[in-house]
Symmetry: C2
């Protein structure tokens, strides 16, 4: 039974990709509008392509170096021979997902603007279709990558009768199929590292690009030259629009691609020690397929009446997520029941509740993120009020709000972990101390991450829709479309801010759960590599405790590096924009075109240069800590980084979101409105919040997962010193 279930995965993946193609082809049928709109859209596309080209060139170099290192290690027996290839494919598919998502997003912006000039519903459909291309490409490619490797390993490299599997089974005293699935999942875990590296580059690079361009455009254009936002005379305006795509589309996509893949594979890796064998490995893959189908069905419910209010727009998007969740709640009953053979082992059905608890946690975190960052609720409204006493108080207020808001997701994740653990065997462990039920409990924790991410197709669609709407607004402004068009794109855009906030909460929550699954997978990996290794994970062990303190510190250091990177990159843009205003005659009068490409190029180069240090921090820390403190220290470090990374990421994302919306609230007329002193104070808050919410905060997600992945891949190296 379980054997056949695996085929659901490639089927689901193929459907996801076909659906994405279908959506993309629908978008291309729409008109891009008048010549000016086409020209602007083309500039954004050129900029985005230039960025991607350079990004991928740099990253390819990095991947080449890493592959050589991994190959050498594999040659000396410190790694499974597949690792270098798995590493490559992980990176390749993640990059491909980002590439496609961005291609479509940059093709949709002018089309959304043009469609909005016809009707709001049409605008929503185009933007949302673009978002869903991203969403389904991510889940489709993720699941394809997993499937390919799974079947290659299962039927060719690690077939049941291969000497490797037979020997391993004998040595470990396992039945052959268990040995097989353990070897497969252990090898597959390593392609997560490729995805992690790619995701970190995409997030950090994109984050630096988008904020450097944003700050540069605002600081010189809006503040110094006094021209409005999205004015075509501003040399950084195209870079700013490109930034929305490289940061919020490609970056977010790569991030969630990684979470998705890692959550599935980490769960598979725990299937054997939980005693579930192949069935246990089948659940996450099948769940992913079910989630894809549910998400596709749900997208058809995302539509709105003509000239609907913002509330009903949001309701339309929400309906999609709810329907997908409802379908998954129903459809996962048979998945769990048959995969785990619950007819024979009724107690295994607890895994179902673990999936549901993950799904519920994702939605709750999304809701509370909105509560803390939307100006429909008290926290952000109060924050707007603190602008009355100047920039210092709104900064303190925002930091305080961000810190306060960390409590809720931590408690939600804590409850979700506990429920998952208890429901899937942990309760028995607490009562009798049976080690077996401890392992099934941990499997439950891992699968809850898969449950949370099962709606990723549609969640990411509602999220990646935002930057398209944002770009559409920019194009409407630059091409002087009638004000009612701008009003419609503004409605779409402002909705995008809300979905972006909930999307970020969701990304953080799923990162925390999958990082947690990775810690457990790391311990398993060490045990596989060296069954007699004696873990001493007591918190009182100085290695664990030191590792923990270093782990807690790392996300702070990482945030510092990325924030100061934005500062330096922005500084260069400011200089360049000033130079263009000074040197290009007739620019201010609209008689000459600015050199958009130069700004795009500067942002790109800045992003490329500045992403090296943060990436090295993520790759080298686990190796250095491992060499100094051994696997105990690494485990402590992972736990510490998970805890502080989770909390810091929420703090930064929510503080940033709240500042942004507090400013918008004031621009909506509160406390004196645009141009008043409180507004100026709120702009300071918003500017501080920019690198918080769009660079450092979201990149922390990838950072903590990268730490785990590197630890797992280099476990063999560390063991050769400490084993």
């Amino acid at each position: 039974m379980a054997e056949q279930l695996f085929f659901f995965a490639p089927i689901g993946a193929t459907i996801a990709i076909l659906f994405a193609l279908f959506q993309a082809q629908k978008i291309y049928k729409f008109s891009e509008g008048n010549d000016l709109m086409k020209r602007i859209a083309q500039s954004v596309r050129t900029g985005a392509n230039a960025y991607l080209k350079r990004q991928y060139t740099g990253v390819a170099l990095f991947f080449a170096v890493m592959v050589v290192i991994l190959a050498v290690m594999a040659f000396f027996g410190k790694l499974t021979p597949f690792v270098p290839f798995a590493f490559l494919t992980g990176g390749f598919f993640s990059g491909l997902a980002g590439f496609i998502g961005m291609k479509v997003a940059t093709a949709s912006n002018a089309r959304t603007a043009q469609a909005s000039s016809e009707s709001l519903n049409k605008g929503l459909r185009v933007a949302f279709s673009s978002g869903s291309v991203m969403g389904f490409v991510v889940v489709g490619l993720g699941l394809i990558d997993i499937s390919i490797w799974f079947f290659l390993l299962k039927y060719i490299f690690y077939s049941l009768d291969s000497t490797y599997v037979v020997n391993y089974a004998r040595e470990a005293g396992m039945i052959a199929s268990d040995a097989q699935i353990q070897l497969i999942s252990s090898a597959m875990l390593t392609f997560g590292m490729g995805a992690s590296c790619m995701a970190l580059f995409a997030r950090v690079g994109g984050g630096i690009f988008t904020k450097a361009a944003d700050v540069g455009a605002d600081l010189v254009g809006k503040v110094e030259a006094g021209i409005p936002e999205d004015d075509p005379r501003n040399p950084a305006v195209i870079a700013d629009n490109v930034g929305d795509n490289v940061g919020d589309v490609a970056g977010m996509g790569a991030d969630l691609y990684e979470s998705y893949v890692v959550a599935i594979v980490a769960t598979m890796a725990l299937a054997v020690s939980a005693g579930y064998g192949f069935g246990g490995a089948a659940v996450p893959m099948t769940m992913a397929s079910v989630g894809i189908l549910a998400s596709i069905i749900a997208t058809f419910f995302v539509r709105t009446k003509e000239d609907a209010s913002q509330k009903s727009l949001l309701a339309a998007l929400r309906k999609g997520t709810f329907i997908a969740s409802g379908l998954i709640i129903v459809a996962s009953i048979p998945v769990v029941y048959y995969s785990l053979d619950c007819a024979t082992y009724p107690e295994r059905f607890g895994v179902y509740w673990a999936i549901i608890s993950g799904l519920a946690a994702g939605m709750l975190i999304g809701f509370f993120t909105e509560y803390f960052t939307s100006d429909n609720y008290r926290p952000t409204r109060n924050l707007a009020g603190t602008s009355l006493t100047g920039p210092a108080t709104i900064i303190i207020g925002g930091l305080s709000l961000g810190m306060l808001s960390t409590a809720v997701p931590v408690i939600i994740v804590a409850i979700s972990v506990m429920v998952s653990f208890l429901a899937s065997g942990g309760l028995e462990f607490f009562q009798s101390g049976a080690q077996g039920s401890y392992q099934t409990g941990l499997y439950g924790v891992a699968i809850s991450a898969v449950g949370m991410l099962s709606t990723l197709g549609i969640t990411l669609a509602t999220d990646a829709y935002g930057p398209v709407a944002d770009n559409a607004g920019g194009i409407a402004e630059m091409s002087h479309l009638p004000s009612e068009v701008r009003k419609r794109t503004d409605a779409l855009d402002s909705l995008g801010n809300t979905t972006a906030a909930t999307g970020k909460g969701y990304a953080i929550g799923s990162a925390a759960l999958s990082a947690l699954a990775l810690i457990v997978a790391y311990l398993d990996e060490i045990k596989i590599k060296k069954p007699d290794f004696e873990f001493k994970l007591e918190i009182s062990d100085p290695r664990v405790l030191i590792g923990l303190m270093i782990g807690v510190m790392l996300p702070f250091l990482f945030s510092s590096l990325t924030m100061s990177a934005v500062g330096r990159a922005a500084q260069n843009i400011v200089m360049e924009v000033r130079r263009q205003f000074r040197e290009i005659a007739g620019l201010m009068e609209g008689n000459a075109d600015p050199d958009y490409a130069k700004c795009v190029d500067l942002c790109t180069r800045g992003a490329q240069k500045e992403m090296i240090m943060p990436a090295l921090l993520g790759i080298l820390s686990p190796i250095i800590v491992g060499l100094m403190l051994g696997p105990n220290g690494v485990t402590g470090m992972l736990a510490g980084a998970l805890g502080s990374g989770f909390v810091l990421a929420i703090m930064m994302a929510n503080a940033g979101g709240a500042w942004d919306n507090a400013k918008k609230h004031i621009e909506g007329g509160a406390h004196g409105g645009k141009g008043s002193d409180p507004h100026k104070a709120a702009v300071v808050g918003d500017t501080v919040g920019d690198p918080f919410k769009d660079t450092s905060g979201p990149a922390i997600n990838n950072f903590i997962k990268l730490l785990s992945m590197v630890s797992i891949v280099f476990a063999g190296l560390i063991l050769s010193v400490w084993g």
Copy 2:
């Protein structure tokens, strides 16, 4: 031999208190200057007394409630009967230390101003004498409290032939003297909770008071009314001066009193499991005495030439600390050698290196704190440069600097912990896995905290000297003393900023080390209460991991509460100062006196009201987490809170310090100087930094120790549910 060593403790304590009295009496011989100076000093004193009176009334109520709760628990056998009394004395002595320190500080401010009008050296001597009263009262009272309880327990309640000790020894299978010392130190640990509560109230209350007054005075006086700092027409000016005393003198004193006492007692608690028996318990107490003597000798070297430069002033203060450290390095050789009977057990001498590593770590952290926050070095100078592009960039820059600066102390503490552990037996544990050497290693970690704190007498003296110099400057300004006097007090004050920064680094470092010792003590406490309790401290245990995540989050929540408390309290002062300017006729012209007392009263009331929530968070969290997740969860929580509290406290303290000095750097003429746009941006940074460095940051130290203390005291309650 070891038995007699204990008598060093009360002797050292008595000498410390006598020395403090001698210093105090020296101060009172100086003149307070002219009538105006006397009147101002009297206002500050009245305000400080009013604050203390209300603070102690509120705290007394809290202590009364706690004593009743503890007494009820003791009655039902969940606690040792001494706990309520021990709790009371811990709080009482801590409060007394704060009271005396503040009495002397408020008596020294005008005297320092007057002495500075004669010579710089005289001014330094008065201010430093005042600081040393605080320093030696803290160590003296701390050691007295420890000694009293030690001898009471040893000779009366838990005498060697008492049935309690005899029974306990039989049940645990220990020799009687080991059982005795274990019971004694376990009982003594609980008075740390009294000290912790008192310290939290003093830090939080003082921190809120001082920043509310500061912000209120600045915002209305300097910005709105346009009168200079420390102008007597400002109704909040006295509250501002009072604030320096209640925050930086009483708060800092109570904080370090707690660290000091807790470090000593936690080490004693680990003596038995390390196999060192009475000798092991004697080392920390004797080390404390030795530290007191060394510090007293060193104070005599703190003097400077007439009209020396700021550098030589700093050198004078540093000389004191260096000499004290040198003396301790030499004197602790015989202490360790004889206490631990190293003639028979030469391997025990490793404990000496643990002490030295703690001492070195304290000095290194102090140095790097100065590096990151003083405008003599690059980080703060660069930060000042970010003010050129406005308030947003200096905020981002400061946060980034603060985050970056966390790496260094974490690594220093990590190395110090590792060295202490390895030197005192841990190396053998790593090689052979012998559990005994694991325990001696942990004892080494605990004693390194005592080593770091052994110079507390003089370190605190150089630290508590700052607010006195600050106040003296205020009095010089308000009483229109000649400008060269103000120049001298400014030199003393600016030096005070440097010593305050290093003092804060030192306080954080020692808090981290003693919190760490407390975690180990907590584990021991559980084992004493229930020898068969099965700890499952693996990080993969969901209870540990959830506890850890909650623990990481708590310092963020705590910071949020304290920061927003400052905001609310400051808001009230702003209103009141505005009201006085509006309603008191002739105030601006200097024809009428403002109502200083009203502002002091408002600050006091605000501080009292706002300190309740943060204190409850500290007391209730371990109990709630304990009831929900058991001792495993509590241990995870303590480790998480230690890690994130340590990092967050450093981040906040250093960011705040750097903003402050970046502003001063600009005021010194850089980037346009006072009144320029960069200066205005820097003022925003400084205002954000105020609650960072003077309220939330330092209070986190107490918060993490309070969490540990409550966990230890309520271990019995938790065990009755989870045991």
